[in-house]
Amino acid sequence: MTNLTRRGLVKSGLGLLAACGLTSGVEAQRAKLLRFGLSAWPPNLQPWVSTGASAGTVKMLIHSRLIGYDRAGNLAGELAESFGHEADGAWVFRLVPNAVFHNGEPVTSADVRHTIEQIGGERSTAYMRAQFQSVSRIETPDARTIRIHTKEPVATLPTWFGNYNMPIVWRGSPANEPVGCGAYRLESQERGTSLDLVAFDRYFRAGLPRIERLRLVVYADENLRFAALKSGDMDMIEYVPWQSMSGVESDPRLRLDTQYGPFMDILFNGTKGPFADARIRRAVAHAVKREDIVQAAFFGRGRPLEGVPIVEGTPWWDAELSKGWRYDPAEAKRLLAAAGAPNGFQTVMLGTAQFGMHKDTAEVVQQHLAAIGIQCELRLPDWSTRVRLGTTGQYEIAIHGVSADNNDPDGLTVIMDTSLSPTHGRSFGVQAPRTIDLLARGRAEFDETKRVAIYKDMQRAALEEVPLVGLAWRAQGYGMDRRVTGFTNIPGALSTSSGFMLTETTIA
């Protein structure tokens, strides 16, 4: 039943002006519809190519992964009803018996094999390409069992399958029309504007999804996205802007769910200039008062990050190590003097003006470095230029913002392993051999107790070698009408993967 509202009256008037008696049928279905405000139009929905978290949300709804996460962020089977590591070194996954693709074909081990082979293929552009190229052999002894052997032992292999760029696709799919087995089917889309998803009636998880239709509407402007939630145009939005979080909290009709996952950091060029010296990098790490970044860039909606970005509450987090780069200007000056630069120096700091949080963070860091004698000229081009300059090492010090792949310290490898090929999101050519070695050892260790010890050693090494400098965790928030229930923002780095929770979400 459509409620009589002021807006309804205005709309009715305009409808009459249009001399058309048609009315939307959408409102009559409100009880079965959730309207979700996306922050960006998915550049494309190719299953294995990373095109951002908004695209990831859509992909997790129309596809299923082998492994997912529970509400606490623990690994949990999705298409796999069980998984484990066997004595011969193989990871073994057992598929649920009742999963079918949207075309009615059953999900089998051959489909998982096909997916892995496509991702790890020579001509692949998949995000997880490098990881799956380390797979040496795949066995499919029956239709529900997959055994995966890797060239080196990998304790964290299940996390690979938990990435939102890892949907399992029907092996007979046409090249540009991947067939998935997710909770929803893509019913229609208004290009650049909205996507309409409808529940897949043969979804394998009993009782899910709990909403018949999802309408995903793109609001690229964060203020408008918030306004759409406040005005009731949307039932739920992602990426609540930090300055608007209090506005959500103060509205009795709305609810805010935040987690600290993504973070800001400083990257260095280790091949030239003053930051090739680890003591200078440590001086930078001790020179910045993080609380100022939290206030200036995130309106207080963040947390200082004074160590390696390990998520608090995980077994690898350590209270003392998490303060390893505490704000200490005197120590920063001592380290500068020890490195032969007691009076500091001049440099250029790379960032981007395209994103406010990058620019604001850069300005705060600039002020604090000036206080110890490091005078930074800010270079803030558009994001495209920032990426290119970062990848090619055309900078000395840079501001970046990122999220780890997951909450396991191995998820930081892509950010901290400076021996990997250069990209804009890692320090360029910084020598951090102990850190890199310990990351590799942690990845290969299956004993959880030993892994904890290894990763604490890794943090100690990183605090000295400084492959990056953590600055601030930033709050990642979903705002929603209180009638929306069943949604949980997954902790830590997994926050950007929380979109899959929409399958368990409902609205009164």
Partner: protein, 316 residues
């Protein structure tokens, strides 16, 4: 005929120059479309995957080869396909351009509906309270940036009073009422500057016409004041208003960028901005070429109209 051929030829040359400049400028600034696409969200892509995508998109070819390919496509009327999702650039423009033009048309209608009557009334009562108040209001409308007015309207009408949706788009065929509701605020904002221009131009023209002999004669014949105004004043005053309107409609195309962004109206601006940010070369060139073509077309039509009306123009 020679004049017509000459003007069309110069327009084609100009369009070609615009396309070439945009193509080269885009390729000269830093940024790799393949790397940007795979870096969405700030993540670090595998460089091997980036190289593979570059090859797949043809970005590894020398610049002159890419340029020749672009020109060949252009001569066939093919604007190419998006590097991001392989979608036809022409189809994207065909989808988006009508929405932008609709926005401009709606803004223009608002400008005419408000500016002409208000300008006429202000001129007839020149120096009066209405004239002075409206002059102030129009100056304010000219001064307030579109994004400020847009944001204030959203805050007031959507967030606070909940009278209007915050923004967005619904196709007319799906829900005409909602479509017009969503169109109204951006049209109002984009039309606000034009309202002031039309108001001022109408007021000045009417003031110019009012003391003329034919108006005095019409009144002397005993015609009602309303008919004198409609048939003998406003009608004659409308010529200059239309000329100015035509000139400013072109500039409204540029003004839509902010308005479309603020109100989430999916016109041509959104894909243009996204394409520039993502270095989606074919999409940028296609859209810029289309907008430039529209400008050139408007100029050509205006020139031809002038030539038709004034033989001295044709004679050069």
């Amino acid at each position: 005929m020679a004049y017509l051929v000459g003007r069309i030829a110069s327009s084609v040359v100009l369009a070609f120059a615009v396309a070439t400049i945009v193509f080269l400028a885009l390729h000269l600034v830093p940024g790799d479309p393949a790397e940007l696409l795979l870096s969405t969200g700030g993540i670090s892509p595998d460089p091997a995957a980036v190289a593979e995508l570059r090859e797949r998109l043809g970005l590894d070819r020398p610049l002159h080869v890419q340029y020749l390919g672009f020109l060949t496509g252009l001569l066939r009327g093919d604007l190419g396909r998006s590097l991001v999702d392989d979608y036809s650039v022409a189809a994207e423009i065909a989808l988006r351009l009508p929405r932008t033009l609709e926005l401009i048309a709606a803004g223009t209608i608002i400008a005419l509906a408000v500016g002409v009557p208000a300008g006429t009334y202000a001129a007839v009562h020149a120096g009066g309270a209405f004239d002075r108040i409206m002059s102030g209001v129009m100056a304010l409308l000219m001064a307030v940036p579109v994004f400020v007015l847009g944001t204030l309207l959203i805050l007031l009408l959507a967030q606070t009073l909940k009278l209007m949706p915050a923004g967005g788009f619904v196709p007319f065929w799906r829900d005409p009422g909602q479509h017009l509701l969503l169109l109204s605020l951006p049209a109002l904002v984009i039309g606000k500057g034009l309202v002031a221009i039309v108001f001022r131009m109408t007021r000045a023209s009417v003031l110019d016409i009012l003391p003329r002999d034919h108006v005095r004669t019409a009144r002397a014949k005993g015609l009602a004041e309303g008919r004198v105004l409609r048939a003998h004043v406003v009608r004659n005053a409308f010529g200059p208003v239309l000329t100015v309107l035509g000139l400013h409609m072109g500039s409204l195309l540029g003004g839509t960028v902010l308005v479309e962004y603020v109100f989430n109206w999916p016109g041509l601006s959104t894909p243009l901005i996204r394409a520039v940010e993502g270095r989606d070369y074919p999409m940028v060139v296609g859209i810029v070429l289309t907008v430039s073509g529209l400008f050139l077309l408007i100029n050509l039509v205006v020139d031809l109209l002038y030539a038709a009306l004034d033989p001295r123009v044709r004679a050069g």
